[in-house]
Each structure stands twice: as C-alpha cells, then as structure tokens.
C-alpha cells in the first residue's frame, strides 16, 4: 500500500525542518574549524599568546555550535530509514555507501579529535595540538564531501542501473558516483559557503568589540583573519557558484530553467532575467528585466549551448512518461516470470524511462492504463514551482554580492590601516551576522525544492519514496522535533550571545576587558572617552 498524501507531505515537511535546522549549525562548524586552524597556526609559528587566546575563545563558541550540529545530525543519519524506507530500499545499494564512508572516513576523525581540541591543551605539545585542530577541520570538510556526494547523486544519479531481480537500483561504477560533476561543484560551493558563514560570524562579533572599543588587539587580529578568509571564500562561492553544475543531468536542466523562469528556449547565449514576476499558470514572466547573453555564459560556460526552456522540457517529459509506461509494462512481464531474452531486451531498451513511468503511480496504480489527462498531470508535476525557486535563488545571489562587498571593503580598510574610522562598516558587519545563514538556507531550498517531484532525479518520485506510516506517528515525531529543536535553539542562542558578549574575558586569563574592569575600582566619572583604536602591530 502506498503512503497516503498526508503522510508524504508530513514526511517531506519533517525532512525539510530537520535538514534546514541541522544546516543552521553545519556551516559555522565547517568554516570556524579552519579559522581555528589559521589562528592556532599563527600561534605555533609566532608563539604569541594572543593567538592562543583567540583559538581558545573562538573555540568556545565553536563548541557551543558543534554540540548542536552533532545533536541534530544524528536525526538525518536515521531519517532515510524511518521516513523514506522505500527510497532506502530502492537506492540503498548506492546511496548508503557514501553515508557509511562519511562515518568511517570523516565523522570519526572529527568527533574523536574534537574532545582533544578542548581538553588536550595541557597534554599535547603545540604542534600536536595544532595537528588535532587540523584533523577536526579536515574531518568536518571531508564529512561535507561525502554527504554532498550522496546529495549530488540524488540530483544526477550516475554509475547505477536498475536490477529487476532485486527491484532496486544497483551500483555500476563507484568512480562515477564519487567523481560526479554535480557532487564536486556542490561540495566546493557548500563548504565555501560555510567558510563565508564563519568568516562573517567572526568578522561581525569582532566588529562589535571594536565598536565597543574593548579588547581591540584581540578583536583586530580576529577581524583580520576573518576578512582575509572571508574574502577568499566569498570569491570561491561566487566564481565556483553551482549554477555551472546545473547543466549536468536531466533534472538539473529543469531546475535551472525554473530558477531562471526560462519558459521558452531562446537562441544561445540566453539572456538572464534579473527581475520579474514568474507566472506559472500562464507560463510567462511579467515585468521581466533581462540582460542579454549572461545566463548562457554563466550556465553553459559557452556562447553556443542553449538553455532549454520549460515548455520544451515538458514536451520531452511527455515522451519519456509515455516510454515509462512501456517500461513499466515490460517490467511487469519480467516479474510475472517471463525472463526470456526478448523480454529482457525489451525492458533494457526502455528502462531509462522507468522513473518517468513511476510518476503516474500517483494517479493510477497500474501505470500502463493512464489516461491522457493523467499523463498531462504527471507532465505538469515534472516542473517544480517556479516562483519560490526564482526568488530564493535571487535572494541568495544578492546576499552573496553583499558579502563580497563587506569582505572586500573590510580587507581594503584593514590593509590601509583605516578600519577604525569606518564605523558604518563595523556596524554593517555586526548586523550582517545572520545573513549567511539565510543565504545558506535559501541555497538548500533551491537545491532540494528544485529537485521535485523526484527524490532521485529521473529515477524515483518523491511520493513513492516515503515509508507507509500512520499519520499519527508523523504528528508525534514532528511535534517532538519542533518542541526539542525550538527549546535547544533558544538555549544555544542564549549561551552564544552570553559568551560572544563576554568576549575573551570568558577565558579567565585575567588579561581582558571585563576582568580588568572588575579588578579596577568603579570609575568615578561618567563614561570615559572612547580610546582611539590602536593600529595592528606586525
């Protein structure tokens, strides 16, 4: 029995909630771990204790965030089995492998050494401790690599074939799965976005100390690390932006057309719609403001490759759905016991369209008896909802541009040693702290919502993937997640703000602002004049 629509919708909602929530913590872990490596490397090379304090203080904030990443990550490792059991059966032969490797090759490294990062300071030599920090950072980025190989495969399922004997997809080439171009682009884009997030976090919090004129030496050095790392990372995110990945794989072409609201196929190179109001019903974009050539250049990296429009994609899909019906008929024949070479050849010829046939399961369980109306509905299903993708993508890109501006100007004023007077920039940095998270979440919405109606692009529709569960079970789990996650987020934010405000004084070294203030007798006069920012010493 297929899961009812309510169960599919609730399962999707739960996965979206738990994955987006997990990704509130992942980007900071990805980036901050490398920032810690940079700070500690400077400490090891120069022996300057302020860099040790920087590593330890930002490490404390790293720890608060890391705990949440671990807590929310466990959910995702098991949720494919709990809520997407047909998916797990259907593609586990391929999809399970990168997840297992992630555990063995990456997450083990990260989580075994993270304890030593916090508690090994007095038990390890400086170089040993730096190695430990490096392994934590390496582990977290490798972890992202394997997860994105898994996710890349969902978007562009290469190196696999359907086996009718076992009724599932089976691995043909592990090399193809690992070197999937979509996965590689996704990996670079996602980890670089994490590095941007962490850089903005350190930049913004340091800017706060600079604005308050406290612990300025500490803050300036942190600001400098963040500005440099952030500038390099933002450039990577934008230049190696993942639009180039969207030309690989059938369903990614649909995603690209939807993101860009390209209803018709235009002669190459296509223009880009900077702004407009996509109207899915009439398949047009109102008030469109277009810049010629740009989309073709960005998306295809060429001047002569077309970006195929939604209307033409739909025509292609109708052909594939009709072929899929034949594939389903051939599969039924094989499964009824006729395993003659002719029957096998017939199925092999059609099986690349089996997934498109399965789209019809939503409307008719037998697939082969679909009416033209049902086929038309299935064709419509193959195009994701354009407006949310169009807007999410534009929001993400606009934020990316803002980050580039902030890091570039910060870097500029820093090397000109004119940072202190730019209070507007420091304020902008503080208020921009939450923005990379918004950009990252929008990015995931584009990536995952844009893959609909598939879980595995062109292979397995979402509505077939879900477990056949009772709605009451899903209400229970969803309520539990929302309750726990809200509670934990409040606790995490309270601690994060508390420690960020307290700054390096939370290390109890006796060297920083609040502790020095506590030692001094209360100032007799009003607030003392703000001291000028010292220039960074080199």
């Amino acid at each position: 029995m297929l899961p009812i629509d309510e169960v599919v919708s609730l399962s999707r909602l739960q996965f979206a909630v738990t994955a987006l929530y997990h990704f509130l913590f992942v980007p900071l872990t990805l980036g901050l771990s490398w920032i810690l490596v940079i700070m500690e490397a400077v400490y090891v090379m120069t022996g300057s204790p302020i860099y040790k304090d920087m590593t330890r203080f930002w490490g404390k904030l790293f720890g608060i965030n890391f705990a949440m990443g671990v807590a929310t990550g466990i959910t995702l490792e098991f949720q494919f089995g709990t809520n997407w059991s047909y998916y797990s059966h259907y593609v586990g032969d391929i999809f399970g492998t990168p997840l297992a490797i992630e555990g063995m090759a990456a997450f083990f490294l990260e989580s075994t050494f993270v304890g030593l990062f916090f508690f090994g300071w007095d038990r390890l030599s400086r170089v040993q401790h730096l190695m430990v920090t490096f392994l934590v950072a390496l582990g977290s980025s490798l972890s992202a690599l394997w997860i994105l190989i898994a996710n890349g495969w969902m978007n562009n399922p290469v190196g696999a074939e359907f086996n009718f004997e076992t009724m599932r997809m089976e691995l043909v080439s592990m090399t193809d799965v690992i070197f999937n171009p979509v996965a590689q682009v996704k990996f670079v884009h996602t980890v670089a976005a994490g590095y941007v997030t962490a850089s903005m976090f350190v930049l913004g919090v340091s800017a706060y100390y600079l604005l308050k004129a406290r612990d300025t030496q500490f803050a300036l050095r942190s600001f400098a690390v963040a500005a440099g790392f952030g500038l390099a990372s933002t450039l990577s995110v934008i230049v190696l932006g993942d639009e180039s990945g969207y030309t690989a794989g059938e369903v990614n072409k649909v995603k690209l057309a939807a993101i860009e609201a390209e209803w018709d196929t235009h002669p190459a190179p296509a223009g880009i719609t900077i702004f407009g109001m996509p109207d899915s019903k009439n398949e047009r974009t109102d008030y469109a403001f277009k810049v010629p050539y740009v989309l073709g250049l960005i998306a295809t990296r060429s001047t002569d490759t077309q970006v195929i429009g939604i209307k033409d994609l739909k025509k292609e899909h109708e052909v594939r759905i009709r072929n899929g019906m034949l594939a389903y008929a051939a599969l039924t024949r094989l499964k009824s016991g006729d395993k003659s070479p002719a029957a096998r050849a017939e199925f092999d010829k059609l099986k690349q369209d089996l997934g498109y046939g399965l789209l019809l399961k939503k409307y008719t369980p037998n697939v082969i008896d679909a009416t033209p109306e049902q086929i038309a509905k299935a064709v419509d299903d193959t195009i994701p909802n354009v407006a949310p993708l169009f807007w999410s993508f534009r929001g993400m890109v606009a934020l990316g541009m803002l980050f580039l501006f902030i890091f570039a100007t910060s870097f500029y004023f820093l090397i000109r040693k004119q940072l202190a007077p730019q209070r507007w920039l420091l304020r902008l940095a503080v208020f921009s702290i939450p923005l990379p998270w918004i950009a990252a979440e929008l990015g995931w919405i584009v990536a995952e919502y844009g893959r609909q109606p598939w879980t595995i692009a062109g292979i397995l529709p979402t509505h077939l993937s879900a477990s056949t569960l009772q709605p009451s079970s899903l209400y229970f789990s969803l309520a539990g997640f929302i309750l726990f996650y809200t509670f934990l987020l409040v606790v995490e934010m309270v601690l994060m703000v508390k420690y960020a405000k307290r700054g390096p004084s939370s290390l109890h070294t006796g060297k920083y602002h609040w502790e020095l203030l506590d030692k001094k007798p209360a100032a007799p006069s009003k607030t003392p004049p703000r001291p000028p920012l010292p220039k960074p010493t080199r």
């Binding site: 029995m1 608060i64 890391f66 705990a67 949440m68 671990v70 807590a71 929310t72 466990i74 959910t75 490792e77 098991f78 089995g81 709990t82 809520n83 059991s85 047909y86 797990s88 059966h89 586990g92 032969d93 399970g96 492998t97 997840l99 297992a100 555990g103 063995m104 090759a105 997450f107 083990f108 989580s111 075994t112 050494f113 993270v114 304890g115 030593l116 508690f119 090994g120 038990r123 086996n163 004997e165 076992t166 009724m167 089976e170 691995l171 043909v172 592990m174 477990s467 056949t468 569960l469 229970f476 789990s477 539990g480 726990f484 606790v491 995490e492 601690l495 508390k498 420690y499 109890h508």
Partner: protein
Amino acid sequence: MIFDYETLKIIWWAFVGVLIIGFALTDGFDFGVGMMLPFVGKTDAERRVLINSIGPTWEGNQTWFITAGGATFAAWPLVYATAFSGFYIALMVLLFSLFFRPVGFDYRSKVADPRWRNAWDWGLFAGGIVPPLICGVAFGNLLLGVPFHYDDTMRVEYTGNFFQLLNPFGLLAGLLSVAMLLTHGATFAMVKTEAEIAARVRKIAIYASLATLALFVIGGFWVARGIDGYSITSMPSANSAFMPLAKTVEITSGAWMDNYERWPETRAIPVVAIVALLLVAAFGAWRKARLAFICSGIAVAGIILTAATAMFPFIMPSSLDPRSSLTVWDAVSSQKTLGIMFWLVLFFLPLIILYTAWVYRVMRGKVTLKHIADNEHTAY
C-alpha cells in the same frame, strides 16, 4: 573480487556485528555513566568528575552508532529501511533522548545556576538510560519476530505498534541491556575516578554485574524454552542475489538453539559471557578496576554475540509473513557494493581504532575533584 557473494554476505554479518559491539563497548560506558550520574554524584563537583571522566571521548564513541547506522544502510538496505520505519516511534524517542547528550555535556557547566545544572544532569540521565533500554527492547523483539511483510515491489508494511514492543520478553531484554551497560559504565568509572566516588561505583559494578548475569540466564532459558525460533526451509543459492520472498521459513519452538547444536563450539560464547560477569563482581570486590573493566567489556561482547549467534542467519524475522524475514542472504546490497565496502572497512576500521587508542592514551589518568577545581572554567 577475491570473495564470492556468499562469503561476502557472511563477512558483512561479522562487520555489522563488530560495529554494534564497538558501539556497545565504547558508547556503552558513556550510557552507563550517564544513568548513574544523578545518583552517584552527590555534589556538583562530584557530578563534574563523572561527566569529565567521559567528556573528552564520548563524542568519538557515539560515532560507532552513526557509523553502524551508515554501514547498515550501505550493506543491509532492507534492514535499515524495515527496522527503522517499523520501530518508528521507538527510534524517535531514542533520537530525542540522544539530543540531551552533546548539548548537556557542553552546556551544563557554562552556567553556574544549580537549577540549570541539575536539569541537564537529568537530561544526561535520560540520554544514558533511554538508548540502551530501547536498543535492548528492540533486540528482544527481533528474537520474537516482528509483524511486517513486503508487497511485490518490495514496499514494506509494518502492522505492529509501539506498545506491542513492550511485551514481557522485550522488556526483559531491555532491562538486560540497561544492566549490562550500567555494569560497563560503573567499571569504567572505577578506573577513572578515586576515593568516595570510586567506592560508590565499585558497589554498583558488583550489583549490576550480578543483575546482568541473572537477567542473561533467565533470558537464555526463555529463548530456549519459551519462544519460537525461525529457520529457513528452502531458498535459492546463497551465492546469488534474491529477494526475501523467494525463500520459505518455518517457525518452531526452540529453533534459536539450532546453531548451538550445529556448531557446539559456539556454546563457549555464552559461557564466556557468564564467567566474565562473575569476574566483574570478583574484581570489583578485590578492587581491581582495570581487570573489572576488561571483563565487563568481554561480557558485553559475549552477550551481544550470544543473541546474534542464536539468530544467524536471521537479522529481522517476520512474525506476520515468515517469508518476508530478513536474513544475511537476502537483505544485502549487491556483490559490488559489499566488495567495495569490504576494502574500505578493512582500511578505516584499524585506523579508527588506532587513533582512538591514542586519544585515550593522551587523556589517561584519573579525573579528581582537584582537577575539576583547577579547571573550573574549562572542564565540562
């Protein structure tokens, strides 16, 4: 590939077993320490001693659980799909209880308010006792068989509910699991603590090991006499790929004892577990912390292996439709995937054990009240 499919299938049964035992051996004592935390630690400082005895290493230990999950997905996709969706509510409760640990360890000592710390201690208690209880109940129910079946597209339907898991045998298995890991946690704390705390956990280790022994023996007789076992009556060649529905299975009383009759040398496994449990109590009484800990580790491995050996080749028998039962022969991935994963495990598992051992070496030594006082702001 140097192995045929049949051999790989058996190797993967062993690998998943190694990962589950690795999880129980390492994270097991974290659970054990968690469940005695509010009772053994009378003051905040004492509780911090216990927390810091596992604090620097628990995270790596939990990764055995994550990796066992990932490896099950890769090697036994049908088990991953069927067990986790079937035991849906139980698994969700397990996940919810696990949330308390990473956050509890890191956040507890960051605020001085005793109410805050006390609340997290109970959170860590929940995170210590609920997972072993649920895992134990789940294993008990695997021995009983669970109600599920597949349709012709291999979609699973599970017809039981959460409360049916809480049957007498399932609960016994849950208690056994809790007692076993309490023993393990207590012997670990004997090694890592001193003075009064060490004296308290020593007592717990002795009593808990005897309770584990009693529950294990009762469970053994129950399996032999009280519940039905499963056996395969016909199936395609073990060397081929086939779906669960292609075999036939019968349910007979005492069938879980067949393997022990067929391979009499396997009877050593439960005997070793029993002897190890007795030695835990003895070494506890003689104040030999390290030896007690080693023996509790042997007992943990022995108890899990005893159940796994009884069930082999079954992983998840179906009481509703015995043909649907999942076994090492038909719940597995393709030969290619098993082969690739074999080499990866062979490479990474020793590496993991090596660097984990190094981390434990670096963090060796007892955690004392003085250590907590000296590291007021950096310790958990």
